[in-house]
């Protein structure tokens, strides 16, 4: 893998993104706002304070985490799959000095960058709602990048294994939706039975939600464990998507 060659592919993604962002950006932006309105302001009227926080203040940081997650996951499932199969963009790029490892590195890095773009956007939205207590939330950005990388890696592994584009529905229904619902965005996971709550610890979104929520409250120290978790898993998972995609693209 050569950084310079991966950079070329990253530049391609950026060129395309800056051309098309007007049409795609709004969608990813509207959905989190709807959650904040419906759950935070609507449902929140009937919910008691959680750990001394109003409901909208409780879910705001979680929405930042989930938006950044979905940005990376869409990119490395549907995005990568379409570039690999229907558009044959991979074939075109692999006819240049760029090799498969450079290309996959760029796909993963780009997904992490998109996590940051969406994470930061929602961060601004949440701040505008007036529900952020501490500027320390800005420190969550590197964590969003690393967690974006984890989601990119998981998605890329899925993309390397799915027989067709329809199979992603299983991934979204059986993996992404439970993750979204049970990672502590909408209620603290310790309200669940212990065994179920224990599972959350093994999922990346749970840790990113913890980080965003603690940083937004100005309490960095309590989530250092989650920061370490994200950094370690991002590195540990890294080699798997490369190996699987090499096998998928080059027979």
């Amino acid at each position: 893998m050569k950084i310079r060659r991966a950079w070329r592919v990253l530049q391609r993604h950026w060129t395309v993104y800056t051309k098309l962002y007007k049409s795609s950006f709004a969608l990813n932006f509207i959905e989190p706002v709807l959650y904040l309105l419906a759950m935070g302001m609507g449902l929140g009227m009937f919910v008691a304070d959680i750990n001394g926080q109003s409901y909208i203040k409780f879910i705001g940081p979680g929405i930042i985490a989930s938006s950044s997650m979905f940005a990376a996951v869409y990119e490395c499932t549907y995005g990568t799959y379409i570039r690999m199969t229907f558009q044959k963009t991979f074939d075109a790029i692999l006819a240049t000095p760029v090799n498969i490892d450079d290309l996959i590195a760029a796909e993963l890095a780009w997904a992490a960058v998109k996590s940051v773009i969406y994470g930061v956007t929602i961060m601004i939205v949440v701040a505008l709602f007036g529900i952020v207590d501490s500027w320390l939330l800005v420190l969550a950005v590197p964590c969003i990048f690393l967690c974006g990388l984890i989601f990119a890696e998981i998605s890329m592994i899925t993309t390397a294994l799915v027989p067709g584009i329809d199979s992603f529905s299983y991934f979204y229904t059986l993996f992404m939706t439970p993750l979204f619902l049970f990672s502590g965005i909408f209620f603290p996971v310790d309200t669940l039975p212990r065994a179920v709550a224990g599972v959350a610890w093994f999922t990346p979104l749970y840790h990113l939600v913890n980080i965003c929520r603690a940083f937004a409250a100005g309490k960095v120290a309590v989530v250092l464990g989650s920061v370490v978790w994200i950094a370690v898993v991002a590195v540990v998972l890294a080699l798997v998507p490369f190996r699987l995609m090499r096998r998928r693209v080059i027979q």
């Binding site: 050569k2 310079r4 060659r5 070329r8 592919v9 530049q11 391609r12 060129t15 395309v16 051309k19 098309l20 558009q87 044959k88 963009t89 074939d91 075109a92 790029i93 692999l94 006819a95 240049t96 000095p97 760029v98 090799n99 080059i250 027979q251």
Partner: protein, 247 residues
């Protein structure tokens, strides 16, 4: 065969996909400036050989060198000097005609100050100079092929690999592509192509390899093949191939 005067050399090239043998022991030597064509039925292994030469697939066994470099060891160095025009449209649909060339040039580390004039020059070469701002979706099949040819030339390749460059084109567009390929031959670019059109092979190729069931069954100048086997090139082709179809 692998002397210094060989652009592409293959020895004992075998490619298997699982239990299927797509290429079954091919030896080749292609000289600089030559236009070399692969003829053969669908599934004969032409595209696989081309994809191995373009460093896209690794051989199962045997060796392939391009510019004297091993395809499995130095793919990036080889690919920086290659131009590839694949069978299927793989233009970037998210980019305009002009941007397709600029972004592609970037993969070869060609800076924008060089790639902008180059892209204009190439668009003129393939007569798309007025279409730079168009979307890929708005192009006709012939225009797409021409744009793919222009894109394959951004790095001024020493070897140009064309997989069925004129398949699906109307006679005018086909002639336009032939015209460009002849100009490239004149500039001493080595051309390697596959085709199903005997006229194309006769017009462009100095030598052709006829492939069948993963093997090269004959290699020679089209004229020599016709003299040796009798009839026109299509007769030679039909005589030498298709045994697997009759089985």
């Amino acid at each position: 065969m692998a002397d210094n005067n060989t652009i592409v050399a293959a020895q004992g090239l075998v490619k298997k996909y699982g239990i299927v043998t797509a290429v079954d022991g091919v030896d080749l030597g292609i000289a600089p400036g030559e236009c070399f064509g692969f003829l053969g039925p669908n599934g004969a292994g032409k595209t696989t050989v081309m994809r191995i030469i373009s460093c896209f697939l690794p051989p199962t066994s045997g060796t392939v060198t391009v510019f004297g470099l091993d395809v499995t060891k130095e793919p990036s160095r080889i690919k920086s000097r290659l131009g590839v025009m694949p069978q299927e449209d793989n233009l970037d649909p998210d980019l305009s005609v002009f941007e397709n060339l600029i972004v592609y040039a970037r993969y070869f580390d060609i800076p924008k100050r060089d790639s902008v004039p180059l892209a204009n020059e190439l668009l003129t070469f393939v007569e798309l100079q007025d279409r730079g701002g168009m979307n890929i979706k708005e192009l006709s099949g012939g225009m797409k092929r021409r744009l793919m040819l222009a894109r394959a030339l951004v790095n001024t390749p020493e070897l140009l690999i064309l997989d069925e460059p004129t398949t699906g084109l109307d006679p005018h567009s086909r002639r336009a592509v032939w015209e460009r390929l002849n100009q490239l031959k004149f500039r001493n670019t080595t051309l390697l192509l596959t085709t199903h059109y005997m006229e194309e092979a006769e017009r462009l190729c100095d030598r052709v390899a006829i492939m069948d069931s993963g093997r090269v069954v004959a290699v020679d100048a089209p004229q020599n093949l016709m003299e040796k086997h009798g009839g026109d090139l299509e007769d030679v082709y039909l005589k030498l191939t298709g045994r697997s179809l009759e089985d």
